[in-house]
């Protein structure tokens, strides 16, 4: 397992905390006309909090081909120095494209909360 249970738990708490602090705000804090004045601020909207399934990679099967990294529509996968790929819980929506595209069937989708 790439993401240890401990990191996973921390991230899940982080999702709630960051979502509250960064993107969920009162109407008075919005810019005029709801304009976005900071580039790349969509990072602050932690879209991962409504995921129902998460990808789990079996490193024994993984051949480090990077297909998950290429196909992920949200650019959630990041290459590690070891050659494996880790995914960011804050943004993964659980679409399952990585699991579908993985040529070695190394990625399985697991229900959140299981």
């Amino acid at each position: 397992m790439l993401c240890s249970k401990r990191i996973s738990k921390l991230n899940r708490e982080g999702v709630k905390r960051l979502a509250k602090v960064d993107a969920i705000t009162g109407w008075r804090n919005l810019e005029i006309g709801c304009a976005i004045i900071e580039p790349g601020s969509s990072r602050k909207l932690r879209t991962g909090d409504w995921r129902s399934q998460r990808p789990v990679t079996d490193r024994d099967k993984c051949i480090k081909c990077g297909m998950c990294w290429i196909y992920c529509p949200d650019m959630v996968y990041l290459p590690l120095r070891s050659g494996y790929f880790k995914w960011d819980e804050n943004y993964c929506k659980g679409c399952g494209i990585c699991a579908n595209e993985c040529p070695e069937d190394a990625i399985s989708m697991v229900m959140e909360g299981d």
Partner: protein, 392 residues
Amino acid sequence: MPKRVGIEVSLAASEAACAVDSDVIAAYPITPQTHIVEHLSELVADGKLDAEFIPVESEHSAMSVCIGSSAVGARTFTASSAQGLALMHEILFIAPALRTPIVMAVVNRAMSGPISIWNDHSDIMAERDVGWIQTFAENGQEVFDLIIHAFRVAEDPKVLLPVMVNLDGFTLSHVIEPIEMLNAREVRRYIKPYKPQMVLDPKHPVTMGAVGVPEVYTEAKQQIESVLRASKKVVVSAWKEFARLYGRTYRPIETYRTKGAEVVLMTMGSVSETAMTAVDKMRDKEIAVGLMRFRLWRPFPLEEFRRAVKGVKVLAVLDRAISYGAQGGPVFMEVRSALYGQAGQPNISGFVAGLGGRDITTDMFEEMVKKAIRYAKKGKGPTYELIGVREK
């Protein structure tokens, strides 16, 4: 004082947009708005107005261009009517949402079908909820003044909302009236250079019109709602300043001979002048009738309306648009709702008249007033009715 000149009201509207030194005009011609746009293109072509005149392929594009030009900080003007206004519909919502202070003259015309180029308020009433400030003119002078006023209000940093100035098609737009025209120098005392608060500028990139996910959409709506409601103060203070500088006074609710009136007629737009004559005639016949007109329709001037209506026993509300299958015309429904639960609320009757260019005569106003009195005495009557429908 400025000179009074005889001028077609449409041309006066264009001259108002010229006097404030508009930067961009994007419009598509449609009867009866055509003369406004034609004259503006002449003013630009003749070098009298230093502006970009953008002839577009539809009203949908016209409003889209207006939003774009306003977003880069250009003072923007347009005009439309009926089907054209309806074609703008989806874009109209976006202008207040992006806080682009566009000014538009809406030359009120009936919506098809059947096809009608003539005047009523069915076009503007269908755009009631788009988030624009909406004012109504009764004569040519008011058209000129309200357009100048519209720029002042729209561009106020506390407002930054688009404004529609409504004038009746043909009955106002195509008549020649004596109008005191303010020139650019005189207008500069009232209209300062536009200082946009949020602007598209490559040096300081911002995103306008991003998606509003469910977490933010409600808050975005609250911003528009709050600003639109609060804009009433600016609308009123800008009218006060206008009166101080140019001597003509405007109010959200205009009244005529309402002192001691037991019955009050409620109207909007140019027909109000006929209604004044009707009130005079009825007063001569000892009917204690007065007249109230909405000058400001959005934001709805609730406090002013309730104050004005105090002590009135019978209200006869005129709608110049039909709201099929509803409980009355849009104005009637709003008026009744504004008075619901108020102590001593008057008996309210709604009348729909003047559709698709049908004249409203003083006799028709008398009919409305008499019917409203009769229904109030009987304690019942139709919620609303069409006046002047031929049965045979």
